[in-house]
């Protein structure tokens, strides 16, 4: 049973083909306003499609203009960005709500809900009100509530965005474990590349409503195809035309590759492999660069060059450079990856 969708909505100009296999976790990764949440809402049935389709196996969920299955009749579990727990119910009642709504008896619903609270590790708060929970606890309750009805499709909207950094770190690995155990189809929406990489089996990059790249986290991280993704994974990305080891970049500059390539290529390289020197050298891939910005980036200093490339330098090196004087930047051809 495959979740097969072509999500087309006027709002955000969304046009997104999406296929999710059982047990697979697909992350929709993109900047704010790319249409990720809109896509999720169409899958949940909270927003009808203008065109396209959503099918689970042979069951149509949305197929304009004829078919539209209301959200309460879809076998989905949704975890909302700010969880949307019901404040007037206890934690246990929150988790049992979906089961009760689908006709399970009260006692059975409560016992199942408690099992889920045990699974996610917040059973001791079963009788508390959601308002009294910490962010991490509320996140787990929301997950338990979404999973309690054993949905076919699990939808997560920015599942970690509401958490502080320390909690986030811990909850992320936990969530990854729960998602691995979940046998259904998972679609998660995030703007955080790390969340996407850790949680998902496959990434779908969404920019302005359109898919710009899709692939395994590893593939996307190594071969970014748009500036947005390159920036997310921390690589420099240049575009040009290769003829053997010589590349003429779109901005007119030249690069020399270690391995030959042909035609339109993306050239990616790590900012760590860029070096800066006050002395001009004759080595390949050396150019005169002007510094357009400097910022502290973890344990290195990130230096922006000509607004196109950035170099990560150890602070000790930075101390020896005078950014007001001419500088020469260079990259070893073997550090360049063309594809």
């Amino acid at each position: 049973m495959t979740l097969d969708a072509l999500l087309q909505v006027d709002r955000a100009g969304l046009d997104l083909p999406l296929t999710v296999n059982p047990g697979e976790v697909v992350a929709l990764l993109g900047p704010n306003g790319a249409g990720k949440t809109t896509a999720l809402r169409t899958l949940a049935g909270l927003l009808p499609l203008r065109d396209g389709h959503i099918r689970l196996g042979d069951q149509p969920w949305d197929q304009p203009p004829r078919t539209f299955l209301a959200p309460q009749r879809r076998t989905v579990g949704v975890m909302f960005q700010d969880y949307l727990l019901f404040d007037h119910m206890s934690v246990l009642e929150n988790v049992a709500f979906g089961l009760r709504a689908r006709g399970t008896s009260r006692s059975e619903a409560r016992s199942t809900a408690l099992t889920w609270l045990l699974t996610v590790g917040v059973a001791e708060y079963a009788l508390s009100r959601p308002r009294s929970l910490s962010g991490g606890q509320a996140q787990r309750v929301a997950l338990a509530r979404a999973l309690a009805t054993t949905p076919d499709v699990l939808l997560l909207d920015e599942p970690l965005a509401a958490l502080d950094a320390a909690t986030r770190h811990r909850v992320r690995t936990e969530l990854a474990r729960h998602l691995r155990d979940f046998p259904g189809h998972t679609v998660l929406v995030t703007h955080d590349p790390l969340d996407a990489m850790v949680l998902a089996d496959r990434l779908v990059i969404l920019e302005d409503g359109k898919v710009t790249q899709t692939g395994s986290p590893r593939d996307v991280a190594q071969h970014p195809r748009t500036d947005y993704i390159a920036h997310l994974v921390g690589l420099n990305l240049l575009h040009g035309n290769a003829n053997g080891t010589a590349v003429i970049l779109d901005n007119g500059n030249h690069l020399t590759l270690a391995a030959p390539a042909q035609g339109q290529v993306h050239v990616a390289f790590s900012p760590v492999s860029v070096s800066l020197s006050p002395v001009e050298s004759t080595a390949p891939n050396t150019w005169r660069a002007s510094v357009t910005g400097v910022e502290q980036h973890a344990h290195t200093t990130r230096v922006h060059l000509d607004n196109t490339v950035f170099a990560d330098l150890p602070p000790t090196t930075v101390a020896t450079l005078d950014f007001t004087k001419p500088l020469w930047a260079s990259i070893n051809p073997s550090d360049l990856r063309a594809y």
């Binding site: 309460q72 009749r73 949307l84 007037h88 709504a101």
Partner: protein, 265 residues
């Protein structure tokens, strides 16, 4: 630091002055009423049959009218806040008409429709032998007509302010719209419903114009406290003052007890 505390502590005169005048404006007439009350007569008047009858009738009718308003008004508020019916703004404006309509005119309107010559009243009379004017049921109808907008406006405001994404969450959990309304929407707007109910009850308790016009005035049947006060004013202003003080005390007591219960809960 010090200067800052001072400037924070001083309230703007432009606000305080009108506020104090406004408060005085509301309270002074009440104080005047209490000052003119002949307290010595109070017990004897209080326990007279007429006062007891009128008070009991007032409380029963206002409460029944409030129940009617809640049963009909909460769904109406929901429809106005959530339903995608055409002309919703226009309907909302219509709902508020009884707020601005002089109650006497409301009473005449009720007579024209529900009176024995009115289109609905004729049917009620012909089919079921029910005649509303000059009956206790008529009092309830008149009070509900005038008081319902208070409830609808209050509940609708609460519904609009409530996070409707909670309802979406309920839907994704498999809840029908009715279950969502009962278990999610209604509890989340409960403070608004309570406030609206209290307002509605208070308005019904003080209702005069529509009641006397539609239901008439007959002791034990349709003479509620405000009617008794008005008629007493014609012949015996002291009695009117006592009746007013009773009405005032009862409503303040009920509102205060309600409030405490809900604040504690």
């Amino acid at each position: 630091m010090n200067k800052r505390r001072v400037s924070k502590g001083r309230l703007p005169v432009a606000l305080v002055l009108p506020a104090v005048v406004g408060l005085a404006f509301l309270l002074v007439p009440l104080v005047g009423l209490l000052a003119r009350t002949q307290w010595a007569d109070l017990p004897s008047r209080l326990f007279s049959a007429e006062v007891g009858e009128a008070l009991q009738l007032s409380l029963v009718c206002a409460s029944v009218a409030t129940v009617v308003c809640v049963v009909l008004g909460v769904p109406l508020a929901w429809l106005l806040a959530r339903g995608d019916l055409p002309g919703r703004r226009f309907i909302r404006a219509l709902v508020t008409v009884p707020l601005v309509l002089p109650p006497v005119v409301g009473g005449v309107a009720l007579l024209l429709v529900l009176g024995r010559r009115g289109p609905v009243g004729e049917l009620l009379d012909g089919w079921f032998g029910i005649s509303l004017p000059f009956t206790t049921a008529g009092v309830v109808v008149a009070e509900a007509f005038v008081a319902m907008p208070f409830l609808v406006i209050s509940v609708e405001g609460a519904l609009r302010a409530a996070d409707h994404r909670l309802e979406e969450a309920a839907a994704t959990l498999g809840a029908s719209r009715w279950l969502t309304f009962r278990r999610v929407t209604l509890p989340s707007v409960m403070p608004g419903v309570v406030a609206g109910t209290v307002l509605c009850w208070a308005r019904a308790l003080g209702e005069f114009g529509a009641t006397i016009t539609f239901a008439g005035n007959f002791p034990g049947k349709t003479t509620t406290m405000p009617l008794a006060v008005y008629l007493a004013l014609e012949s015996d202003p002291q009695a009117a003052i006592v009746l007013s003080v009773v009405l005032l005390t009862v409503s303040v007591a009920v509102l205060a007890s309600l409030r405490e219960r809900w604040v504690a809960g």
